[in-house]
């Protein structure tokens, strides 16, 4: 199963970490540099007097504020990174903003438990009484971007989404 494979990979990494986390410091660099930044959108008036918005490093965030999370993957070696998946758990105190996940050339899937990833239409969650219903965007706990193309040497892939502070 496609998703099962990924889970096992991640679990493998976890198990590895349990024994070699301390050794990670001096470990050999990987082929990709991954960066996550938190930003908020602020409105300003440009030189032409027009209202515009820009992203600034996570400005004042209070309940209800939307934060733009941007994950940047840069290929830092001389070989292409293939079959790229970027996984991001949505912080527990935040709620995914519908239709906000973007990434050029990527398929986006969501999960409500961090294990099963699927397109929004086929995601289901169990209610307390055992019945199932279609997942809502507020149920999402993880986002996965599956890049259709490799990230070539020197190339950068950007994944982004918005989440509102609960």
């Amino acid at each position: 199963m496609h998703t099962g494979t990924i889970s096992k990979l991640v679990i493998g990494a976890l198990a590895l970490a349990a024994t070699s986390a301390a050794a990670a410091e001096g470990a050999r660099k990987g082929c990709v540099e991954l960066k996550t930044v938190a930003e908020t959108e602020v409105e300003y008036v440009d030189e032409q007097g027009q209202r515009a918005t820009k992203l600034v490093p996570a400005a004042k965030v209070i309940p209800g504020t939307q934060v733009v999370w941007t994950v940047t993957a840069s290929n830092v070696c001389d070989k292409a990174a293939e079959k790229v998946f970027i996984d991001n758990p949505i912080p527990a105190q935040m709620s995914y903003v519908p239709d906000s996940a973007l990434a050029a050339g990527a398929d986006i899937q969501f999960s409500t438990d961090g294990r099963q990833f699927a397109e929004p239409a086929s995601l289901r969650v169990s209610e307390a009484d055992g019945t199932q219903r279609a997942a809502r965007s507020s149920d999402y706990t993880h986002i996965r971007w599956s890049l259709r193309n490799p990230i070539g040497p020197g190339q950068v892939a950007v994944a982004r989404y918005r989440a509102a502070l609960k």
Partner: protein, 385 residues
């Protein structure tokens, strides 16, 4: 979980996820608490040359070292959303009497922000405007404000002594009383609106008002953001303040007095078309009615016996009583009005040394708002000298 060769780690992970779901911090109505650290770390999985590589975690500045915990979370701290509301509790005006001391109006102050906060409280008289359909027409005196220490909704002077809210948790509410004195000069159906304003202050330091943070945010600093709405009295939004009005409605007895006189007999015509000539007997009837909103009590009726007349005793109740009182329902009572100012039989009626007929308790004690006991007619007779 339908395969028999699932590694133990996978089962353990499932447990972890489950535990995480249970322990998820529940967002309050006021939202995620200020100072909460929000952490986020992405992971990239990839292959090179067909070989799966160790996943790499993200960091705020970029990480390329593979492996769990080689990356670092991107973090920001939830700022302090300052928000509050005040509501008037009763939903109607507080009924008061003229001259009433320590009349209470009750408000509920609720912290709708995301951190515990202190509040300064200010009571003011509202000038003009309507509340509950009643137009403000007077002010109350000696406005004070007290916090309901035991939150029982009742003002207790000995218990409720704090004049500011030292700390109020996010989502919590506390009752606050405005305590004021009603002017003696207030009359029935006058209204005094009173406004409670609360201003957010540093938690546990109500003397220090909060100041909204200016300038750029520090990701690791808890900034203060005013999020309160506009409210009563032109209070603008996002100023860390909120106001609400309550009202005192003055309810008073309003007495009207009407006096008539009738010639009962004269020495020549007797009771047949008597004329007001010397020696004639005249009956005075004084009707007192309460047209106010509350019963009048402690009534004392006094009427000077006119000059050149002489009070006539023993003319009612088979010639044994001097004064007849008839209530609005037609029920009669009688009393004796002793001369000289001493009510020897304690029936409430007496003639003062100054020559007035005085009728009080128990002959005449209270007048109800309306109905049979809402009016009384006092009758007595004199002869013209």
């Amino acid at each position: 979980m339908n395969s028999s060769n699932i590694p133990m780690t996978r089962a353990a992970l499932a447990l972890l996820v489950l535990a995480g779901a249970v322990a998820l911090p529940q967002a309050q109505a006021a939202g995620t608490a200020a100072t909460t650290s929000i952490q986020n770390r992405a992971t990239i999985s990839y292959s090179v040359g067909g070989n799966a590589q160790t996943p790499i975690e993200s960091s705020p500045t970029g990480n390329s070292t593979p492996g769990t915990n080689a990356g670092a979370s991107t973090v920001f701290v939830v700022d302090n959303r300052v928000d509050l509301t005040i509501t008037e509790v009763a939903g109607s005006a507080t009924l008061v009497n003229p001259g009433e001391l320590n009349a209470v109006a009750t408000y509920l102050v609720t912290n709708t922000g995301n951190a515990a906060q202190a509040y300064q409280l200010t009571p003011t008289n509202v000038v003009g405007g309507a509340l509950f359909g009643n137009t403000d027409s007077i002010d109350v005196n000696n406005l004070r404000v007290f916090v309901d220490a035991n939150n029982n909704g009742t003002y207790e002077a000995a218990t409720d002594t704090a004049t500011s809210i030292a700390t109020l948790a996010a989502d919590a509410g506390v009752r606050v009383f405005i305590v004021a004195d009603v002017p003696v000069t207030a009359t029935n159906l006058q209204y005094a609106s009173a406004r409670l304003t609360a201003a957010a202050a540093v938690n546990n330091t109500p003397a220090t008002l909060l100041v909204q943070s200016a300038g750029a945010d520090g990701a690791g600093t808890v900034e203060i953001v005013f999020a309160d709405g506009a409210s009563a009295g032109g209070d603008v939004l996002r100023n860390g303040r909120f106001a609400a009005d309550d009202q005192y409605a003055v309810q008073s007895a309003a007495l009207t007095v009407q006096k008539t006189s009738t010639v009962i007999s004269d020495p020549f015509n007797a009771a047949s078309n008597p004329k007001a000539i010397p020696g004639a007997t005249v009956e005075y009837g004084v009707t007192v009615s309460n047209t106010g909103a509350v019963a009048a009590s402690g009534l004392v009726f006094a009427d000077p016996i006119p000059a050149n007349t002489t009070f006539v005793q023993n003319v009612y109740s088979s010639g044994t009583r001097d004064v007849r009182l008839t209530n609005g329902g037609g029920v009669d009572t009688f009393c004796v009005a002793e001369a000289g100012g001493t009510d020897t039989n304690a029936d409430g009626c007496v003639r003062t040394a100054g020559g007035s007929l005085q009728v009080g308790t128990p002959a005449l004690a209270t007048l109800a708002v309306s109905g049979p006991t809402g009016s009384v007619t006092v009758r007595f007779r004199v002869t013209i000298n």
